[in-house]
């Protein structure tokens, strides 16, 4: 068990290394392959009408004058041991784990991420609670009443939920519930929980519901299909043959088997979302990691993009480890190793 966890953690570190390498490569090697010179790259960070001196300074400051591999090494070293950063005459020390400084704002990346994470966390956790509760209960009811009006209606709505993109449902819900009816505040109204819990909650209701709609629809369909399959299993027949009440057969015997594979998918979805629910955050102007990622990609702010990417990958890897451990706890046939 412990050996398994350690092995998985080593795997996680390797995975994160690979992710950082690829992200690094996308930003540095690909422009180079396309013929961009280091000067041109540095010029992009200087501002309007760059002078040769300014470009040279920027190159040195950002370390762009060194080979890419050295830059990558410096970056990794920063994560493990911290990094010194020269801004003019001042030398700033960034303690480990240092994810570098923003090319644009010259601010350290990690505090920016920590600043943005609560919004994304609020969005992801709240939405996932709604979609799990709604998706699973709708799916179970649909399976138990297969072919009924309820089942058909639920599945049509679910198909809609799966098919409609979030920027559409998000904008429609904003138009109706915020701008027309005025029940909920509009986009950009997010405040941190610590500042004003009431407003925090109000501002997140629409994003939660919109995001949950998409996933609830998916989970309802998954649960329904899984439940129907499980209900055909021999051990369900055995449970009935024992004379168990139907309620016990469903909740204790059928539901447990149905939910096991859904747990895996949930782990992936939640991990992915913790790295930033890009579309939802943008639609509702929530200052989360997703929004940070988008704006940094737009300005070519590599250290920030790298930071968000690594954090997202970290969440996915960690949550998957947790899911696998849970899986072994739920299904006694699963052996870790």
């Amino acid at each position: 068990m412990l050996a398994y966890i350690i092995r998985r953690l080593i795997g996680a570190v390797l995975m994160l290394l690979l992710v950082s390498l690829v992200t690094f490569g996308i930003f540095f090697w690909i422009p180079k392959l396309a013929g961009q010179t280091t000067d041109q790259l540095a010029a992009a960070y200087v501002g309007k009408a760059p002078t040769a001196q300014a470009i040279q300074d920027t190159k040195e400051r950002l370390g762009l004058d060194k080979p890419v591999i050295v830059q990558y090494g410096t970056y990794l070293k920063g994560i493990v041991a911290g990094q010194d950063f020269k801004a003019g005459p001042v030398v700033d020390h960034c303690p480990a784990p240092c994810l570098g400084y923003s090319f644009r704002t010259s601010q350290p990346v990690l505090p920016q991420l920590m600043d943005r994470a609560p919004a994304t966390l609020s969005l992801a956790i709240g939405a996932s609670i709604i979609w799990l509760a709604a998706g699973i209960s709708i799916g179970v009811l649909s399976a138990l009443r297969r072919g009924s009006i309820w089942d058909r209606t639920a599945m049509v709505i679910a198909l809609g939920g799966v098919s409609l993109p979030i920027y559409f449902t998000g904008l429609v819900s904003l138009a109706i519930f915020s701008y027309s009816l005025g029940i909920f505040p509009g986009g950009g109204s997010y405040v941190p929980f610590t500042q004003d819990p009431g407003t925090w909650f109000q501002s997140l209701v629409l994003p939660w519901v919109t995001l949950a709609f998409l996933y609830a629809a998916m989970y309802a369909r998954l649960t329904r299909a899984g439940m129907l399959e499980t209900l055909g299993e021999d051990y369900i027949r055995t449970a009935r043959a024992k004379g168990l009440p139907e309620r016990t057969v469903i909740t204790k015997h059928a539901l447990r088997s149905t939910l096991t594979p859904i747990l895996t998918i949930f782990g992936l979805d939640l991990g992915l979302m913790l790295g930033g629910a890009v579309l939802t955050e943008n639609t509702f102007s929530i200052p989360g990691l997703g929004q940070l990622a988008i704006s940094s990609i737009g300005t070519g702010d590599l250290p920030v993009v790298l930071g968000v990417t690594l954090l997202a990958a970290f969440f996915i890897v960690m949550i998957n480890l947790v899911v696998d451990l849970l899986y072994a706890a739920i299904d006694p046939r699963v052996r870790l190793g």
Partner: protein, 341 residues
């Protein structure tokens, strides 16, 4: 025997309406069974054996299965009873052993838990009492170190042990009727014999009535007192086990006996399988359902094709549904069938 038989099935029909037509899986089945007796129901796959057993337990979904007729269990009628009433009989008064014990047990719960669950539905006892009972039952069916194995999961048991555990679960509430649906099919031969011995011993101990569903005539010969041969959802022959093996009346039964492998015959001799395959239960042939596969159907001047033979008494307590005259049947059996077996 005095009064009502313990189990009495009267004109049981189980039909499944589908888009292609009505599937007549069981179409008018009648039989009785007393406590302490074993009835073997034999027939090919799709003859309605398992559907019958699930029907007795009331396990068909009432939405997609039309069940009619009567099932009397110890004076209670089950077909017209409410689902909850039938449920209360299930597990307590009647229990079932299934064919594949691995898929028939929940993979996520320990064997002990599953027995405890079966016991506690019908008995208001504490968990620890039920656990003791489960260990006791596991010991009774011959599982070594039951106090330790009780906490194992089904996948940690071997095939034979699993079937023993399944039997322990079925017997946990001392059911008076035990239905065993091909209980040995998934097991290897030595284990098969052990399980059959076990069922026989337990029957002596509990004096339960047993319905043994099987396509294996060897199992029937070993265990059953009476035999019911099913074809296309109906009974074609019903008699004591001796009569079925020594003076079978129906050509289908002859076919079943002919397709049974025997150790005491030269291996160069071929088996005589029944030609063709069982009919679709949506379009059961007119007349005798077996006539398209029957070598003797032509001897009846077309009656087999047009008129369905009813069960008639060929000898006291020996029923068969065949148009062939009695003496003709005896002649064919003596001269053509018996010598080849």
């Amino acid at each position: 025997m005095t009064g009502e038989p313990f189990l009495s099935v009267r004109d049981l029909k189980i039909h499944f309406p589908t888009d292609d037509g009505i599937v007549r899986s069981v179409d008018g089945l009648t039989f009785d069974l007393e406590r302490g007796r074993t009835l073997g129901i034999v027939g090919e796959s799709g003859s309605g054996k398992s559907v019958t057993s699930l029907g007795i337990l009331g396990l068909h979904n009432r939405r997609n299965a039309k069940v009619s007729g009567e099932i009397w269990l110890d004076g209670k009628e089950l077909v017209g009873a409410s689902p909850d009433e039938v449920r209360r009989q299930r597990g307590r008064k009647m229990a079932m052993i299934f064919q594949d014990p691995l898929s028939s047990m929940h993979p996520f719960y320990t064997v002990g838990k599953q027995i405890v669950e079966a016991y506690r539905v019908h008995n208001d006892v504490s968990k620890s009492v039920a656990r003791k009972h489960a260990i006791d039952m596991l010991g009774r069916v011959g599982i070594p170190k039951p106090d330790r194995r009780v906490d194992d999961y089904p996948h940690q048991f071997s095939g034979g042990m699993r079937q023993r555990a399944m039997i322990a679960m079925a017997l946990s509430c001392d059911p008076e009727l035990l239905i065993a649906d091909e209980p040995t099919t998934a097991l290897d031969v030595t284990v098969q014999a052990q399980i059959l011995d076990l069922i026989r011993d337990l029957q002596e101990e509990f004096n339960s009535a047993i319905i043994m569903i099987t396509h294996d005539l060897g199992v029937v010969a070993e265990l059953a007192d009476d035999v019911l041969v099913m074809y296309a959802g109906r009974c074609v022959e019903q008699a004591s086990v001796d009569d079925v093996f020594h003076a079978p009346q129906h050509p289908y039964t002859w076919g079943l006996l002919g397709s049974m492998p025997r150790l005491d015959r030269a291996r160069s001799e071929r088996l005589n399988p029944i030609k063709g395959s069982p009919p679709s239960l949506i379009n059961v042939p007119n007349g005798c359902a077996f006539h398209p596969r029957c070598a003797y159907a032509t001897l009846n001047g077309g009656r087999s094709e047009s008129e369905r033979p009813e069960l008639t008494e060929a000898a006291p307590g020996h029923l068969a549904a065949c148009h062939l005259p009695l003496d003709r049947r005896r002649e064919i059996w003596e001269s053509e069938i018996r010598p080849t077996l």
